[in-house]
Symmetry: none
Subunit: 218 residues, 4 copies
């Protein structure tokens, strides 16, 4: 047995393997839940895709509900991380809002799992968010806080209207962005324009940014 292999087996190697297994399960779970919603998702499929024994899912996550909750938590956390990574210090409030909107759009386009999980969760009237409340504490606060801070800044640098409500802004921006993605399949069909194509998407985010810009302009 080589040094490397021994390294991998002993010491922290075992622990890492367990974590790896958990990660594989989480990754497969997020995909499956996003693709089929909570009810449509199959634990068997998740196990297969994660290349692990099905029972391990229950060993690590107790049941399907907790697995969904963990998936949701991780998606939320990733989004918040992305948002917080956007450097807004040197931008005016006006620019900051648009920059954040674009960053959000880019993130969702690249990794739309969260919005599908949320779509499913809303179909169930936020059952998991309510039943597993304590699991989500402190995860979602930053979203609103970010916007509030920018708007405060705007009151000083006068780059945006003074009467913008942060919650309304958040919903409108998120609405335009997320709806374009979650409903792309029915919209593409209904409108006869393929919303998944690169050019159309470029147009879409431009439209959104334009809409926001004219709205918040002082």
């Amino acid at each position: 047995m080589t040094e490397v292999l021994r390294e991998k087996r002993k010491g922290s190697g075992m622990i890492k393997n367990a974590e790896l297994t958990k990660k594989k399960i989480m990754s497969a779970a997020k995909k499956e839940f996003a693709a089929h919603g909570f009810d449509g998702a199959r634990v068997d499929v998740i196990a297969q895709r994660a290349h692990v024994n099905k029972q391990l899912i229950y060993y690590y996550f107790k049941n399907k509900d907790y697995l969904f909750v963990e998936s949701l938590k991780e998606c939320f956390a990733t989004l918040r991380k992305v948002e917080n990574a956007v450097n807004l210090e040197e931008n005016s409030a006006f620019d900051a809002i648009l920059k954040l909107a674009r960053a959000t759009w880019d993130y969702y386009i690249k990794d739309p799992e969260l919005i599908y999980l949320l779509a499913s969760e809303n179909l169930m009237h936020a059952r998991h968010l309510k039943e597993y409340k304590q699991e989500f504490l402190n995860i979602n606060a930053s979203w609103l806080e970010n916007t509030q801070r920018i708007i405060e800044k705007g009151k000083i640098d006068k780059s945006i209207r003074a009467d913008i409500d942060p919650i309304e802004l958040n919903i409108s921006v998120a609405g335009m962005i997320i709806f374009s993605i979650t409903n792309q399949y029915t919209l593409s069909y209904t409108l006869g324009r393929d919303l998944t194509s690169k050019e159309v998407r470029k147009m879409r985010i431009q439209s959104i940014l334009d809409t926001i810009a004219t709205w918040i302009k002082p």
Copy 2:
């Protein structure tokens, strides 16, 4: 058995009864699909709520998929009817767009089934819309046409910007409206503001109309 009774059973009376049964099933189906999504919906529950034998559902609608398709069709049709009922003749293009947006909001608030069916349908990547294409022909055309006509009018009455793309407009307006409703449960939780309350909703539609207005203003 008296003549009258026989009449009721065999003649056109029977047909009316059949239609009634179908309607009861459809009504229960729309509620169940809206409340739980396609996968979460239970045929048994639909039968119970419609006060009919479960087998009748299969007799009239062949299977769960067709039942969903019919539910979706009827919801679409109702929305289009509502939209077309809005009299826009005497309004400027600017006013027409806002009037239509408010009518759409009012309708969805009162009867949100369609948007939940669509949410579920998008979770499945518009599977039914694609697989049962022919069923939806000619139902959805009017949405875009309405907007196109208004924008054409705007080019004459100059009440709106000349470069508004009807599709982008439709998506943005629908996005802000529908997202506020479909995601109200998770948003209420995430933002700490109860989006189902009357006052908050008033604020929301005002915000949306304001956003649209500033955007389309010439």
Copy 3:
């Protein structure tokens, strides 16, 4: 198709078939529960033995617990019927008690399902008897009442001691009888005497009757 077959299919035939199915399930259930206890019993096995689709069990009995409750109820009812069928009118109290004890023994030897179901039920601290209380109302009253009536009679005909408590009598008699049957397997092993053999059983009931007789003798 012959008249007979048609007869069987139409009219009350269908109903009878459903009842027959239920009976087949009940019969198989009682056997399985008696042989393996509640926890050890397998729904699959019950379905197989009843030659019915497994789902039918859930269709008719809702779940394993209710199936057990129904089994228990039916066994109780059968025993009570047997007890009440014993004609005690012309016997003295003394003879009546012995006659009843022997009838009980004969019944349990022939059809020991009830005592195995009770053994299992006691292992679970009478969980079903408690949780499904209302199901058992009015089933078990007659056991005690029978004995009470006999003892009252004894106070008149002086054929038995005056201070016999009906409950103590019932428990002692039932204990000697039932224990001999439920524990026959471990006893046969522990005592080195095959309690399932006919002669040994004859001896056993004679012993029991002798014990009771000397006890209740005035």
Copy 4:
């Protein structure tokens, strides 16, 4: 690592710890098996209650069956020890039988695990007693021998009837005692008298002793 610590880990200290672990497992196992029967008992629960890793159970006892067998063995052994501890030398055969019955009753009331294990074992037709025969050799002989010795004595001191069969006596006594305990839950329900209360129990054992006494009286 100091010498002392090493001593504790490797030397006889380890062995003592191992015995302790085994004891903790056995204690938890007996409780769990008694409370739920063999099929209803959960290895996980036993591990938890014993505060040991589940795998240790397999390390020490091979599997669930052996664990049950060991539990049964230990319970049998304890009972025999209790029985043999009763000093019967100076008593007449008559008194000895009653004394033994009362001691048995007291023991079972205080520690009813054995009779629940036996109840479960009988539900499985004494499967373990048969399959693991050799494990039980020489454990159960003394029960019968005790009684036989007393009866022999009775033939001399004439304190009891001459025709008492030791096996019949054992079964009858054990039956009245054990049945009162194993079936206390269903009996309490069926008879409407709480058999777990102290006074009722006092009455019960008096009844039993009275029954035996009148039976064995010469």
